[in-house]
Subunit: 402 residues, 2 copies
């Protein structure tokens, strides 16, 4: 509703907006009453921005709800994360730059090891080497033929992970996943979860059987576990909705995938944070919205490594002067969700946000941290409203009504 | 919307959640700039919990809206208080453990005194004795016969209060109440407020007339005033929605009624706060959600007794170590609404809330009070979202999306 209003108020201009996204930024203290990762980190540049700018807290999906990375990113970009929630298969396919075609069914796959009883011994097939994964995908593509699908694609992602796509059939997402997400049990036999899904369930059962047959001589990777089913979905483009020329700078496939689904332009391949900042600088003249994605904050949080997460935040802080030297009109620093190291997982806690722009409202915040953000002038709001605030500060929204 | 998402994310575990509800907890200072009842009370245990935990403020129904106890409690338990609003008659019936049957019409009744002109002299019939109330209900049950209802029940509640139930007819709630809520006037004649309510209005007029006739020799209680009409409503069960095994510990019928409507298990009869804590301890092994209701905070607030409300809060604080000795995973301390002693009534002010759990977000709050809660990390939120926050802190919600 709100975003529909925003779209009608768009006023294009050349002002530039940077979204610096530290994945999983929000955290928790080690001890009650202590400081979080962000609060512990020495961040003189972020603190100065917080003193000059506005801060607040964002709820990615809803109060108490722990978001996956997909929904959290849709919310960051102003897309309702519930309305636009899709299975991970589609995000993987987009991330791999697989040619998306209406009618496809996308599935995330793990190569796994089954023991002689057919029980899952290792859900990741000993973190299979990527080259081996590629060989097996070629072999599977050559040998698997399904009655209910004209084509089946097996695409290597990394290590044990792959994408499986069914094309040319009447597919439904309403089928149970074959990955039980635990070891010591058999893979689950795909079952239709809705009457219209009978053919799809049959196709996936046939697929699982043929895969096992093709891989029967393999010691390490003798099965595929399937999950995250998604059909083809068309998303309204980010540039169309907000009148922006967006450049996405991300190293990980999943985040590139989200950017591709929203039809953002993708920057060249990067491997480090420093390379990402270089891409930002070199693309700065041609675009006016920049999504810079830092993965390592989330990775260290998922590892449960409080100290290393702090170091990543400090490293980003040290690169901030380079970003500021570009003279952005609006700079937003936030995360897509919280990944407290003490929980070693995504969490439901709201995410600290910092917005720096010429016309931002003063607040008493003088450092960037979860507790300080509680008294920030942005307040606490649903993450999907962040885009409106950024556009507004860039003068890209007209007045509503006379 | 949010709660529908929550229900799909439920992950059962054995973690235990306690809701310690001090009815009407929120208050106001006697003088502008002064301290509220909660802020004045010496509460070392609550203050320590506030320092370690998260605090915030809850809006029971909406900003500026003063809630009745029914809607406020539905909100506490994660039920939309507007969608699930029902007439007080149903809550009374459930509180009395009256056998609820589809088609019934439930009405709250006051025995009242009419003067010789038929004007209400006392809306409570001099706070009739409960035993006398029982005798009159037996007499009414024996003598009242209505054309449009197969059965009429008169059930004693306490003092002047009773429940009247019409059964076996085509009843509507859309009828005006006969209780004018003031003295010196006649009872209101029941009128249909919608075309389909004509029969019900006629039945209630007939009922009022017969009651006056049966009671015509009574000096004290010679009429019944009716209000809070409600038909039968079925509620989705609390345990079904949230995957919890709930135990409700409440001394007052109304709160037991809410718990029964949500199909919670009710603890044994209790008369004091200490007995309630005993019930909590003895039921602790068998359940994983505990609703402990303290009535006296609200009663003293309604009395306009600032000092006595403080004493009740201090008494609850002194019992907190017993609750904490059970090692709950999540402890929530709040009220269902505000009842400032200076107003001597329910009010629209948001209610302070304190949540203590292992993974709660730090804030700068070091005491439990309305002003401190303004800077709490839970922020200000609709009360109906409290359940999601409690479930999240207990690890009872799965991630949303991939």
């Amino acid at each position: 509703m709100d975003t529909e209003i925003i779209e009608k108020l768009i006023a294009k201009n050349e002002k530039k907006i940077i979204f610096l996204i530290m994945d999983g930024l929000g955290g928790l203290p080690k001890e009650p009453g202590g400081k979080t990762e962000l609060e512990t980190a020495m961040t003189p540049n972020l603190d100065r921005l917080a003193a000059q700018g506005s801060t607040g807290l964002l709820d990615p999906v809803g109060i108490g709800i722990t978001p996956g990375s997909g929904p959290a990113h849709f919310a960051l970009f102003g897309y309702d994360p519930v309305k636009y929630n899709v299975g991970r298969g589609l995000l993987s396919a987009a991330g791999l730059n697989f040619e998306l075609t209406p009618g496809d069914l996308y599935m995330r796959a793990n190569f796994a090891t089954l023991d002689k009883f057919g029980h899952i011994a290792d859900r990741r097939a000993g973190r299979l080497e990527t080259d081996k994964n590629k060989l097996l995908c070629i072999k599977l593509k050559a040998n698997v033929r399904l009655q209910n699908a004209k084509e089946v694609f097996f695409v290597t992602e990394k290590e044990h992970r792959a994408l499986v796509v069914l094309r040319g059939g009447n597919f439904s997402e309403q089928v149970s996943e074959t990955d039980p997400q635990k070891t010591g049990v058999e893979p689950i036999e795909a079952q239709a979860l809705a009457p219209e899904a009978d053919d799809t369930a049959a196709a996936i059962r046939e697929l699982s059987g043929q895969v096992k047959n093709v891989l029967r001589q393999e010691q390490q990777a003798n099965a595929l576990l399937l999950r995250g089913y998604s059909g083809y979905h068309e998303f309204p483009s980010f540039s169309g909705r907000f009148g922006l020329k967006p450049l996405a700078i991300a190293s990980y496939p999943m985040y590139k995938g989200v950017a591709r689904l929203l039809k953002m332009t993708l920057a060249e391949e990067t491997n480090t944070i420093e390379e990402e900042i270089q891409q930002l600088a070199s693309g700065y003249g041609k675009y006016n919205f920049f999504y810079v994605h830092i993965k390592a904050t989330d990775s260290r949080g998922e590892d449960g490594n409080f100290e290393e997460k702090i170091k990543v935040i400090e490293r980003v802080d040290s690169l901030l002067p380079e970003i500021l030297s570009l003279n952005p009109d609006v700079l937003v620093v936030t995360g897509d969700h919280s990944t407290p190291a003490v929980m070693a997982s995504h969490s439901f806690h709201p995410v600290p946000v910092l917005l720096w722009a010429k016309n931002c409202r003063a607040d008493s915040t003088s450092n960037f941290g979860e507790t300080a953000c509680l008294s920030g002038s942005l307040g606490r709001m649903p993450m999907k409203k962040l885009m409106a605030i950024a556009l507004a500060h860039a003068g890209k929204l007209q007045k509503f009504g006379a």
